[in-house]
Subunit: 532 residues, 2 copies
Amino acid sequence: MSKIEDVVATAIENTAGAAERRRRTGGGRGGDRGKGRKSPATLRYRSILNTQSPSLILSDEGLEAIHDASLSVLEQVGLDFMLPEARALLAAAGAQVVAGTERVRMDRGLIMELVAKAPGPFTLHARNPERNVAIGGPAMAFAQVASAPYCSDRDNGRRTGTQEDFRNLVKLAQSYDIIHMTGGYPVEPTDLHASVRHLDCLSDLVKLTDKPYHAYSLGKQRNLDALEIARIGRGVSAEQMEAEPSLFTIINASSPLRYDAPMLQGIIEMSSHNQVVVITPFTLAGAMAPVTVAGALVQQNAEALAGIAFTQVVRPGAPVVYGGFTSNVDMKSGAPAFGTPEYMKAVMAGGQLARRYGLPYRTSNTCAANTLDAQSAYESMMSLWGLVQGGGNFIMHAAGWMEGGLTASFEKFVMDVDMLQMVAEFLVPLDTSPDALAMDAISEVGPGGHYFGTAHTLSRYETAFYSPILSDWRNFESWSLAGQPTTFDHANKVWKETLASYEQPPLDAAVSEELDAFVARRKEEGGVPTDF
Amino acid sequence: MSKIEDVVATAIENTAGAAERRRRTGGGRGGDRGKGRKSPATLRYRSILNTQSPSLILSDEGLEAIHDASLSVLEQVGLDFMLPEARALLAAAGAQVVAGTERVRMDRGLIMELVAKAPGPFTLHARNPERNVAIGGPAMAFAQVASAPYCSDRDNGRRTGTQEDFRNLVKLAQSYDIIHMTGGYPVEPTDLHASVRHLDCLSDLVKLTDKPYHAYSLGKQRNLDALEIARIGRGVSAEQMEAEPSLFTIINASSPLRYDAPMLQGIIEMSSHNQVVVITPFTLAGAMAPVTVAGALVQQNAEALAGIAFTQVVRPGAPVVYGGFTSNVDMKSGAPAFGTPEYMKAVMAGGQLARRYGLPYRTSNTCAANTLDAQSAYESMMSLWGLVQGGGNFIMHAAGWMEGGLTASFEKFVMDVDMLQMVAEFLVPLDTSPDALAMDAISEVGPGGHYFGTAHTLSRYETAFYSPILSDWRNFESWSLAGQPTTFDHANKVWKETLASYEQPPLDAAVSEELDAFVARRKEEGGVPTDF
């Protein structure tokens, strides 16, 4: 299994030459506004290393108090594992299954022994090796919005998702290097029947992107289909696929303190094939979790540790990610809230917990806003700085998430890409080499001069600073003459331009044929039976 | 002079009981949207302690490289001090004045000896002692937007400022406890003649708020008038005023590497009276400073250290703040940019430099946006997380700054207040007491239940979470029925409601009379002569 050195090596290898390429490919729109836009397909942001030490929101004592309380929950209360096969595996591993119930209790020794078998950082493989993603350690990887029932854009409004919407959002994810993976279906394509939806969608994910992707755990057969499609897409043997994790699944607890059957089947299929399981309790403080952030974290940690332990029961050493998703509700209305101060604290505390167990940390870029107004930006920024400071590794919903996850927004996607790129630029270490200190230029200009024409400036001005995609830096008069466009207006133009310049990544014809044949066969077989 | 313990004591004393008062006074609007709004005048945010350890953007070596280079600039290049009196004082202190020029060079030993005389953290006194502000150490204090030539609101658009606008913005500053000071004239009241403007404005600042405020350094007489108004406003003797810093002035370098006469006169008058000087170079990388962030920081640090040293020449021990204001320009257009990744790095590096010298750190909440769109929020959030992570103490332009400082926006003021309050809530330590860990509630609810009705929830739900002023957490359908309002719409309502509920803080009648008499006399004398 990959060690942290390998993860960093993967990240650095992917980063190598990025600065040079950046100089060659140029930045985003900046001063080119209105004159059309360069292709976004640069190699600039293939790997992100978090160069900042994580900030600590919990004292050592506070961290241990949450850890300890969560183990007490697992010992004294236990969790419901709603699949007999899972309970049998857990019982065989030494857990106490309460007879005649779904309840499983595990003592702290057993839990910690199992969690210790998890591998820590690892590499998630893509069909294009240049798109391999380092997961864990100092690496940060961003996945597109996932699982929204609706999508929206300014031209067509908010609507139930279709295959066309799904495909367009996947194409956007492919177009920006700062998006390292898709994270599930960005929007649910409801015009595809549920029995075959996974076949069409996974096939599209192989063809329309060359980045890693996610398979839903919605029953054993869908997991098996996804594993086969991933193997075909990479053009590798089952053995190589098993040696190189190439597919991930998000496993949510049915909070509080339950795992349902499809999720447990997902762990069994994915972990037994050495694929990536991202255990993520969704613990909304005041609703399905205690109203205090600390209490919600105790529950999050109990659920996460139970799920992680189960992956290691299935297959010791299988790659697994510690996921945290604790936010709060609006106590006046019960509505879920995101990107709040409480969310930030929970994100940072979750990072401390994940690092305590030596596991990669999954978190999310969230907001509750209904439109691309200031709220959508400040809530997402709160989320982003929480997860940067908190040491997030595997960032779900990094671009496009709106309305607490109900909508995938085309415009929000672009704004998030811009904000993620700003985070990435922030994380580039500050150059304090003698040349950067500019003593010669300062001496040359002296008191009262300016730096516009100095050699130091002229040799650097094109690439000195991040050139944002959306920010409108014109003065008020020029901006007014242009019709006073907002960020929403700019983002609306950009996603359409990006989609128009989308290029499908090359795929070997034999792979494409094998993939089509597999999907056709499975469709002939009826896909996966549904009751509708 | 105050020690750090005193600063923290002031902050804690002002915080004491805040949690209790918060429970009594309730939060912002939250679910009350549209039903009118509780008075914003709570005691919740009188003091903010930064509970997070500052994040480091510079290695120890990088920090020393910038420090060392800036001292070399002071030794080898020098600064122009454009006031003969200042040069005479510096020469007497051991600096080298280049004969027949304004150029002053100082060796590193002299600079560091003078900087070491500065007191570090101190208390800034208000006419209402409950509004005293701790400056430095872990304390954070927020000052309203200052010095904008324009103001804007959604109803009346963007316009040159008037006394009415000035007064309305000052009233807003008084209405929210998270705003600890005004920071100058929030908008320049151009309908008041420049000869008497400072008299009217400073008199208004005494009457309309009970918080500390700023005096512009625009010539000796204006400084002297401001000192007298501040003394009268506090109702203290000149001796007590001198023992208790009660007024501050921002001193900007004329970058690169110059201090002009009014600024130097300001230092002489304010420091000699033991009042607060905030030395702030404005070093725009690629324009009036080198195009590299490190180079701009070298220049910032040289200018800052020179100004700080001069305050200690004037009066050893006079309170002084290290100010940083390094951002970048859009290299395609030359337009200044704010809230960028480069700005964040500069803000955090500035904090490391200020702490290296044991000085309080001034920084700013900036954005370049022209309207209250998403850009205005993400740029301000970048600024805020930069300064929180960077250990900012004295935060200028904390609320209302738009268009890179050209406009004071009524709506942006409200949004910034909300964002500052989120920062403050984030900084409240996470409670991990046994009660907060909620073991009893978790046991009570168990797997598959919910927490809505538990005693643990019911006893906390009203005050469990921050209740934002603006965030619209309604679902899409309710939000659509309400007309799809944006953050801009909400903020527009709130500032008008806040202004309508403004209450003038009590002022002793004798003080008011003395103040009016002083202003009347000075106006009869013609104020300060101008050439127009």
